[in-house]
């Protein structure tokens, strides 16, 4: 395999591949060649990729077990829906407000809870996620348990694809910087990291806020694609779903999270044809994958052009 180390060449290939993917789907949609069903699956994939990548920043790279991601998604979804549906503001305002709002929620929740470790943090975040849901259920302005219906369908393919790409780019760029290394060092050994001069609290909160912010983006996209949001959608089982994608992909692997998000969405869709046993199969697959590959599909490795190169070239 020739050298693809050159960062510009690499970037170029990535941009071309992504642009081609985007244009292809966009063409198929406008030409009416893509069945609505597949369009919905693609939208779900984009949203799930956004969710999984943002959670992988918190769980995979920072090593902080959060079980409240659906809560942040809910905050984003509601804020965005209020902006566009009730206040008639443009979609972009809704998205930005959703990200800021969810990020702020991440900050408010992160500052006190990130002092906790391991399972305790998991439970505290789960509790916060549920508090967000119960609170939404009791706010009359957003119709309590009935939720908001009839949200305009602004989240078209460019928004969905763009949202996922922006999330990936921002988080990958963050990870591959000194800030990212600081964040990863917390996962590896928090005490050692602190003693190497890294303000671990600050970076844990940073990762949490960024992760929550992008969950908010996913929520905004969700609300404007699926037309209705209600608190029940964002319960702790939704958080588990996102967590499953991250762990299946491999903690600490962005490409893993992306692949797993796509895989899980496709699997969910494929299992639709087995209405009676779809959840049984899903559960079994989950257990089997974990037993045989507890580190997830990718471990903490990334799938890169070089990997493709190696596979292509037959070298291992």
């Amino acid at each position: 395999m020739q050298k693809v180390n050159n960062k510009w060449l690499k970037l170029g290939i990535e941009v071309v591949v992504l642009a081609a993917l985007f244009t292809l789907v966009q063409y198929l949609i406008t030409a009416g060649l893509l069945k609505q069903y597949y369009q919905i699956s693609l939208a779900s994939m984009c949203i799930n990729v956004t969710l999984a990548v943002s959670l992988s920043l918190i769980n995979g790279f920072t090593g902080q077990l959060s079980l409240g991601h659906a809560g942040f998604m809910a905050v984003g979804a509601y804020i965005a829906a209020i902006m566009t549906n009730m206040l008639d503001l443009p979609f972009i305002t809704g998205i930005l407000a959703a990200m800021l709002g969810a990020g702020l929620a991440g900050f408010i929740i992160g500052v006190p809870t990130l002092r906790l470790k391991g399972d305790y943090l998991a439970i505290a975040t789960l509790a916060f996620g549920e508090i967000i849901r119960v609170t939404l259920q009791n706010i009359g302005y957003v119709n309590g348990p009935a939720g908001i219906m009839g949200i305009p369908k602004f989240a078209t393919w460019p928004w969905l694809f763009g949202g996922a790409i922006v999330t990936i780019v921002v988080i990958v760029n963050l990870i591959n910087s000194s800030y990212g290394r600081a964040i990863i060092s917390i996962r590896e050994d928090e005490t050692a990291s602190e003693l190497m001069g890294i303000n671990t609290t600050k970076y844990k909160v940073l990762a949490f806020v960024v992760g929550a912010g992008f969950a908010g983006l996913a929520g905004a996209l969700y609300a404007h694609y699926f037309y209705i949001i209600k608190p029940e959608t964002f319960n702790f089982l939704k958080s588990f779903d996102i967590l499953v994608m991250v762990v299946l992909g491999g903690l600490g692997s962005t490409t893993g999270a992306i692949i797993a998000a796509v895989f899980v969405t496709a699997l969910t869709a494929a299992l639709q044809s087995f209405p009676a046993i779809r959840m049984v199969l899903y559960a079994l697959i989950l257990i089997i994958v974990m037993i045989y590959r507890p580190q997830g599909l990718m471990g903490n490795k990334e799938l890169s052009l070089r990997t493709f190169g190696r596979i292509w070239g037959g070298r291992h």
Binding site: P112, R115, Y120, A124, E130, T191, L248, A276, I277, V280
Partner: protein, 293 residues
């Protein structure tokens, strides 16, 4: 005042149920540090076994409970062997995901076999008697659940503190490798832990069946979550902690519903959990252990 006393009674009997579930939860966590999300579902299986024992075999409630406990003990050991043991040396999060998988599997496999509808626990299994104590309503099932929770806690505490198995459990919980060197079979000890924990879950399931006289495949989710919160409140891994945590949760929920807004009940319960975690992460009874550097 009468109303307040009644609320205390309500809270204690609700708390006893949480405590009962939390006992098994906390025990499994204490030994292998796994949040066994399937615990609530094992409880459901226990309730279902007792339901069939009552309706199909026509046994009395005590036989039904024994059957449920034995069945779930076996079942718990199997689950541990098949799903959790291969992951013992993996990350905790992998084990957690597996637990979620097991939980989903139990729920939906039960639905697949028996359908999602609730099944009605025969009322004759446990005839309800109400005692009116000066305007206060106390039911025999309240007393039954309360006493069972306390008795089971004492038995459990005895097993862990005084029996050889209990000592082995504590050793495994402290340091698995050292336990092996001391000649303790870790596999066996963990199996026994799961057997006891699952039997406790089954007992709780039967009580829940008696208490609310219905059984359904998804019945374990919410009580399971609440009981887990109770276990963390009391200090997870600590038997009396689970008990106290359960009662605290029960009283708290009752008081919020009774004197505040019943819709914020869960939010307040979770809020208190967070508050306790923040001021004392190891729970009410837990000991703070610093990290060794």
């Amino acid at each position: 005042m009468l109303e307040f006393t009644q609320q205390i009674v309500n809270g204690l009997s609700l708390g006893a149920i949480y405590a009962l579930i939390a006992l098994g939860y906390t025990m499994v966590y204490g030994i292998i540090k796994l949040i066994n999300f399937a615990h609530g579902d094992i409880m459901m299986v226990g309730a279902l076994v007792s339901y069939f024992s009552l309706t199909l075999l026509g046994t009395n409630i005590f036989v039904a409970m024994a059957a449920a406990m034995i069945a779930c003990a076996v079942f718990g050991v199997l689950i541990e062997k098949i799903a959790y043991r291969p992951l013992r040396n993996s990350t905790r999060i992998a084990a957690l995901i597996t637990a979620i998988g097991v939980s989903l599997f139990l729920e939906y496999f039960t639905i697949f076999i028996f359908g999602p509808a609730q099944k009605v626990f025969p009322a004759s299994a446990f005839p309800i008697k109400a005692y009116a104590l000066g305007g206060l309503s106390v039911l025999n099932k309240d007393v039954f659940v309360f006493v069972s929770a306390v008795v089971l806690m004492i038995i459990l505490q005895y097993i862990i503190k005084w029996t050889k198995t209990g000592k082995a459990m504590r050793a495994v919980s402290l340091d698995q490798e050292a336990a092996v060197l001391m000649g303790i079979s870790v596999d066996k000890t963990i199996s026994i832990t799961f057997a006891i924990g699952s039997a406790l879950a089954a007992a709780a399931g039967v009580m829940l069946g008696i208490y609310y006289n219905t059984v359904n495949p998804l019945m374990g989710i919410i009580p399971g979550l609440k009981a887990f919160v109770a276990a963390v409140l009391g200090g997870i891994g600590i038997i009396p902690g689970a008990m106290v945590g359960g009662f605290v949760m029960g009283l708290l929920e009752t008081m919020v519903s009774g004197y505040g807004n019943s819709l914020y009940r869960d939010a307040v319960a979770f809020g208190v959990l967070i508050f306790i975690l923040l001021i004392k992460p190891s729970g009410i009874f837990g000991e703070d252990t610093g990290e060794k550097v």
